[in-house]
Subunit: 415 residues, 2 copies
C-alpha cells in the first residue's frame, strides 16, 4: 500500500501545478466535477450501500449511520455545494497592500495556497466533496484520510474527482485518498512535516484532541463548543426566551448550540419560569444550581461536571449569577472559546461583555447558532476554529491560504 | 521551585488585566521601564558579569560570549528599542472590517491579544527586553525561558520590569522568568495547552526543531534561511555582483544572508569571474559545481550536502543552471522558504520567479538581507517566520495578536 510519503510526493507536484492554475481553470474543474457527480449518482449510491451494509453488520446505527448515508438528494446537494464554491471569489493571488519603502523597495503581501492540506475525518462522505472543492478552489492539493466506515463511498467520490481532474488537464494527485484507514496512517500524517503543510481534523472531540496533541504538522483545531447565554438584568425577557430556545433546540447536535444558561439573580424568578416552560415544551432537560432548583420545578440538580459539558443534546445547564462579572468569570472558567451571548439592553454591559469575553464569536442579543461560515457571509466553511493561531471562528476560503511577500527592487542592497 | 502550571496561573490573570489595559497605560509602562533600565545600568552590568564569569569558566567564548555580554551601550540601546516599541501603533482593539448581514446582524472582526505567550531562547539577554516590550505592547503576558548561561542577566532584567509594572499598577506577572533552566521546564512549556496560547522558539536550528516537533502548544517557527540568489541571463551584471556581495558578506551570520548563488549558463563565464574576484577580496570561500570549478580558479568542489546548507559564514555554494525553470526547481528542492532573489531585467522572468518561488519573501533585483521587520517598516520584529500558518516572513506586532468576532444583534435567531 502507498505510504504517506509516496502520496505526499504526488501531492507536492500537484500543489505546484495548482498554485499556478488560473481561477477560471479551477472553476471549470469544480463545475465539471459537480456535473459528473450528478451523472454518477447510481454508482455513488451503490458504493455507499457497501459501507452501509458493513456498518449495519457492525451494529452501527442512529445518527452515525445517518451521517454515512448517501442518497440521490444528498448527492445533488453535494454537487450544488461544489457549484457554490466554484462561484466564489478566488482569494489566491490577491495582493494585501503594497507599500513603497524610503529606499524605493515596493513590498506587497500576496495570498498564496498552503500547498498540501491533510484532512483527517470520520464517517462523513460529504466532507470528501467539501474538502475537494475548498482545497481545489484555494489551489491546495488535498490528502484525505476518512474513516474506514466510509471507505467505499470516499473511494467512489475521489475516483470520480480524479477522473474529472484528468479530463481537465489537472494532475489527479490534486486529491488523494489514504487507503490505509488504520490508526497508523493518521499517525504518519501527523509526522509528515515538509510533506503536509496543514492538517485539519474534522470530527468528534477525541479525534481532534489526538491530532492536536500529537501532530508535528501545523494544525487548525476545529471546535468543541460549550456555548453560554447570559441573560442580564436589563434583558428584553421575551427576546431572551426566544434566543435561548433557538440556541438550545434549533439543532442541538452542533457545536454552536447553547449548552449553558446564566441568569442575573434580580430577574431569575420571573425569567426562569418563562424559559423553563418553553424549554420543557421542547423536551429540554434542565440541570440547575441550587437557586434554579428552588425556583422552578422539574429541574435536576447540576453537578460540577455539568458546567463544563458539551451535551450536544436536549439538555441545558442553568445557573443564577449575582452580576455580569460573575457571568464573565464563569464563562472564562468553563467556556471553550467558541460562541458566547449576552442578552441585554444595557449599553455598558453589552460593550463590556464584547470586550472581556475571550471567544471566537461574542454576541449581543443574538443566538449562538449564527457562528457559521455561511451565516457570516463567507459562502463556504471549512470548519470553526477554536484556536487563536491563524484562523479563529468560522473559516472561509481565506483560512486555507497563506501569504508571501513579493518585493520589487532596482538594485537595493543593505547598508 | 515554581512549576509552569503555577507560573501560568499568574500569567493568565495578568493576561486578563493586560487585555483590558489602554494603549496609553501600556505605553507609559514601557517608557518607564526604559528609564528604569537606564538608571540601573550598573546593577544590570554587575548581574551580567556573573553570567560572563561562569561562561568563561565553562570555556564559552567567541560569538556566544559576545551575545551574552551587556555593557552600558548595549543596555542603552535596549532601552531605546523599548521606547521605539512604546511609540508604535497599538494593534489591539482594531476592528478589521464590519459587515451588516441581510438579517441585520453586524459582524466585525476585532484584533485581540493571544493571552499568554511563551518564549524559549538561548543565551541572549536582549531577547528578554525585546519580548517584554513586544508582548506588553500587544497585551500579552509573557513567560520567558532563557538559557541558563544568561540566568543572572535575565533575572536582573525581569526583576526590573516587574518593579516597573508594580509601580504602574500592572500585575508583575505580566512578565515572568522560568527559573528552572533545565530541559524539563522547556518540555513542560511545550505541554502547557490551555496555559500558554503561543510558543515562540528563538535561537539555533536545533532548539527550533525540538520545539516544533514536540510542542502541543501552537508554535511559530522562526527560521532557518538557506537563501538563494539567481542571476538570470538578462541580469544587469554590475547590479548582480553588488547584490551577491551584499547578501553574502554584509552580515553573514544571520538567517537572511545568502548561502547559494545560481547563475544562468549563458552568462556564467564572464559573470563568475567578476563576482568571484569580489567575493575573494572579502575572504568568501566558493564551493562550486563542476562547471563553476572549471570556469574559475580557487573554487572548491561542492558536494551534495552543500546545496542544503545554511553556512552562516563566509562560504557560498555556486551552481550554473541551464534556465530559469532549473533555478526555481533547485530552490524548491533545497530552499528553506525564507528569502529568494532573482536578478534580471527580463519582465516575464521576474514575474514568473515572484509567482512560482514558494518562500516567505521573494525579491526581484534586491538583496535578501531586507527580510527584516524594521526594513519592512513594521517598527519592530519578533522574528522571521518560515511557516505558513498565521504569520510568514518578518513578524511585527500584529503577529502577536489573534482576532475575535464581535456581533451586534437585536434579537436574531436562526430559522
Amino acid at each position: 500500500m502507498e505510504t504517506i510519503h509516496d502520496i505526499g510526493k504526488g501531492a507536492r507536484r500537484a500543489a505546484y501545478f495548482l498554485a499556478k492554475a488560473s481561477s477560471d481553470e479551477k472553476k471549470l474543474v469544480l463545475l465539471q466535477a459537480a456535473s459528473n457527480l450528478e451523472e454518477k449518482i447510481e454508482e455513488t449510491v451503490a458504493a455507499n450501500r457497501k459501507d452501509l451494509e458493513q456498518a449495519r453488520k457492525q451494529g452501527i446505527g442512529g445518527a452515525l449511520l445517518d451521517r454515512l448515508r448517501l442518497d440521490a438528494e444528498r448527492i445533488r446537494s453535494m454537487a450544488e455545494g461544489m457549484r457554490q464554491v466554484a462561484g466564489l471569489h478566488d482569494p489566491v493571488g490577491e495582493i494585501l497592500g503594497m507599500t513603497r519603502r524610503p529606499n524605493g523597495l515596493m513590498i506587497g503581501k500576496r495570498r498564496v495556497p498552503f500547498g498540501v492540506v491533510g484532512i483527517i475525518y470520520e464517517a462523513r462522505p460529504n466532507v470528501t466533496a467539501d474538502a475537494f472543492a475548498l482545497c481545489l478552489k484555494t489551489g491546495n492539493a488535498s490528502i484525505l484520510r476518512g474513516g474506514k466506515e466510509a471507505f467505499h463511498s470516499n473511494k467512489a467520490l475521489v475516483d470520480l474527482f480524479q477522473g474529472t481532474l484528468n479530463s481537465q488537464g489537472f494532475p489527479p494527485e490534486a486529491i488523494q485518498l489514504v487507503k490505509d484507514t488504520s490508526r497508523g496512517s493518521a499517525v504518519e500524517m501527523m509526522k509528515a512535516r515538509g510533506i503536509i503543510d496543514l492538517l485539519i481534523p474534522r470530527g468528534g472531540a477525541g479525534l481532534i484532541r489526538t491530532v492536536v496533541e500529537n501532530s508535528q504538522v501545523p494544525v487548525i483545531e476545529t471546535g468543541v463548543g460549550n456555548c453560554h447565554i447570559y441573560v442580564d438584568r436589563d434583558a428584553d425577557r421575551e427576546m431572551a426566551v426566544h434566543i435561548v430556545v433557538n440556541a438550545k433546540t434549533q439543532r442541538p447536535g452542533v457545536c454552536n448550540a447553547a449548552e449553558s444558561l446564566l441568569v442575573h439573580r434580580d430577574i431569575a424568578a420571573g425569567f426562569l419560569h418563562g424559559v423553563a416552560k418553553q424549554l420543557k415544551r421542547r423536551n429540554v432537560e434542565i440541570r440547575g444550581d441550587e437557586t434554579v432548583c428552588s425556583l422552578i420545578g422539574n429541574a435536576f440538580p447540576a453537578n460540577d461536571e455539568d458546567w463544563g459539558r458539551e451535551y450536544l443534546d436536549l439538555i441545558i445547564s442553568v445557573k443564577v449569577v449575582p452580576d455580569l462579572d460573575s457571568a464573565i468569570e464563569h464563562i472564562h472558567r468553563y467556556g471553550t472559546g467558541h460562541s458566547e451571548t449576552i442578552v441585554t439592553n444595557h449599553y455598558a454591559s453589552a460593550q463590556k461583555f464584547l470586550e472581556e469575553v475571550d471567544a471566537a464569536a461574542v454576541y449581543v442579543n443574538a443566538s449562538t447558532r449564527f457562528t457559521d461560515g455561511f451565516e457570516f457571509g463567507f459562502g463556504a466553511e471549512i470548519g470553526i476554529s477554536t484556536q487563536k493561531l491563524h484562523a479563529r471562528g468560522p473559516m472561509g476560503l481565506e483560512a486555507l491560504t497563506s501569504a508571501k511577500y513579493v518585493i520589487y527592487g532596482n538594485g537595493q542592497v543593505r547598508e
